[in-house]
């Protein structure tokens, strides 16, 4: 069971997408785990053959518990592999089954965590339908054998939710649990990270004009948003200023070798997640935009992948077009910086000695004083502003 956030202690395995004997490659989604952040797709980090699934469906296990045994392509004897890198899990050949070490998991019968018994069974089709419509399964009454939730049950619930009399609540994500997770992360950040804050006003008229020209010739599928340019500019700047890209862990800063931008995504009804857009500095703006659309859609549907939770090396947050001009971000630990974009406004601006109307955005940086100082932060922020003057080169 991978750690999907500093505050996570356990997760519930709700779906296996592989079975014993299946061949997998690095990055394949092999299971779905339910956490405070919603359902997370778990990716495997080794190539090989699934030897044995070690955790039954609907079982809650602590972080670090091996979920499956996989025979890797290089070694003969099977090794135990957790489907994520951060928690240390034995990679050595499996002598004593790791399950024995898991406190809540007796070897047999299949381990059941407290509370898991109460969880209703659900058919895969019903789960998919619920996810597609953002239905919270805890609100669905099962009519199948032993209270199992059927496709029809989910359909009925969807009808109730969309009925006019229902209250405003229609997401599969548990927003209360998400709020608890946000609170834990932000409290830790405020407790541990000595933030400093900088702000910089940047003329983004060139970006707007370039987007207008570029999008005019494109069908809606291929159109770009200014948010894609913002993320690309931060990613390029982060590559040049490594003190803002990485993790502060165990009393020291570890710069990251890649730039994975955490994209802050608002969830309807009051939630927030910042999953990773991988290698944002190395992909084209078109590719970045396509991946951002996919990421926003999946996040809002409650389908984030495990690597997207654990990988962000720096976060970008944007208030969009209807917010306010300035936001002061709180760093998401163990990251060391967050860049905020306010609403774009039209302001009088001096160019070549003449005043004219320009589109201006306030960009802020909150950074970790244990790692960098305002001087470096100012250069980093200025670099982002400079990059945004030449959108065609992003």
């Amino acid at each position: 069971m991978p750690s999907l956030g500093a505050d996570m202690e356990a997760g519930t395995l709700v779906e296996w997408l592989v079975k014993a004997g299946d061949r997998v490659k690095r990055g394949d989604v092999v299971a779905v785990v339910e956490t405070q952040k919603g359902a997370i797709e778990i990716e495997i980090f080794e190539a090989g053959k699934i030897e044995q699934l070690l955790v039954d469906l609907n079982t809650k296990v602590p972080v670090g518990t091996p979920l499956a045994r996989i025979q890797t392509e290089l070694e003969g004897p099977p090794g135990a592999v957790a489907a994520a890198p951060p928690p240390a899990v034995p990679a050595a050949p499996l002598a004593a089954p790791p399950l024995v070490r898991a406190p809540v998991a007796p070897p047999s019968p299949p381990p059941v965590a407290p509370g898991a018994e109460a969880r209703a069974r659900i058919s895969p089709a019903a789960r998919r339908l619920a996810e597609a419509h953002g239905i919270d399964l805890s609100t669905v009454t099962g009519s199948g054998p032993a209270g199992a939730i059927t496709y029809a049950d989910v359909e009925r619930r969807f009808g109730e939710i969309t009925a006019p009399s229902e209250k405003k609540r229609a997401l599969g994500l548990d927003l209360d649990a998400m709020r608890t997770a946000i609170a834990a992360a932000m409290a830790r950040s405020k407790r541990e990270i000595p933030h400093y804050y900088l702000e910089h006003q940047v003329d983004v008229t060139a970006c707007e004009q370039w987007l207008t020209r570029t999008n005019a010739a494109r069908p809606p599928d291929d159109r770009l948003l200014i948010g894609a340019l913002a993320i690309k500019s931060v990613a390029l700047a982060a590559r040049r200023f490594p003190a803002f890209n990485g993790f502060y862990r165990d009393g020291k800063f570890e710069p990251a070798s890649a730039v994975h931008i955490g994209v802050a995504i608002a969830i309807r009804g009051g939630g927030l997640a910042a999953p990773a857009l991988h290698e944002a500095d190395r992909i084209t703006v078109d590719e970045l935009m396509a991946r951002m659309r996919d990421l926003v859609q999946r996040t809002r549907a409650g389908r984030i992948r495990s690597s997207e939770i654990s990988d962000p090396t720096i976060t970008v947050t944007s208030l969009g077009e209807r917010g306010v001009e300035t936001l002061y971000g709180i760093i998401y630990p163990p990251q060391v910086a967050i860049v905020g974009f306010g609403k774009i406004v039209t302001r009088p601006w001096v160019i070549d000695g003449a005043i004219g109307p320009r589109s201006v955005v306030t960009i802020t940086l909150s950074a970790d004083h244990r790692v960098s100082d305002g001087h470096a932060g100012a250069l980093f922020l200025a670099e982002i502003g400079r990059l945004l003057q030449e959108p065609d080169k992003l």
Binding site: T212, P219, A266
Partner: protein, 85 residues
């Protein structure tokens, strides 16, 4: 396709973005971005969905004409069939 059908499609697509909203109770003259709390990504997804379903390609420059339910229906009705797609 008449205005009633178009309105139904528009409401369905907006409901995909804002599933908790009862579209029947939305003021057809109100700004959808405010009423439904939709952002630029949501609006782009809405425009994309309309393009896929009805073949009406809405250029960015026309976005302001679609910020209300009535405006969106009128715009689509006027461009249905005359679009290149």
């Amino acid at each position: 396709m008449n205005d009633i059908d178009i309105r139904k499609v528009v409401q369905e697509e907006l409901n995909n973005i804002a599933p908790e909203v009862d579209m029947a109770s939305v003021d057809p003259a109100a700004d959808l971005r405010e009423t439904l709390d939709i952002d630029s990504m949501d609006f782009l997804n809405f425009v994309t969905a309309i393009h896929h379903r009805l073949g009406v390609e809405i250029p960015e420059i026309d976005y302001p004409k679609l910020v209300t339910l009535d405006g969106a229906v009128a715009y689509i009705a006027a461009h249905l069939g005359s679009s290149k797609n």
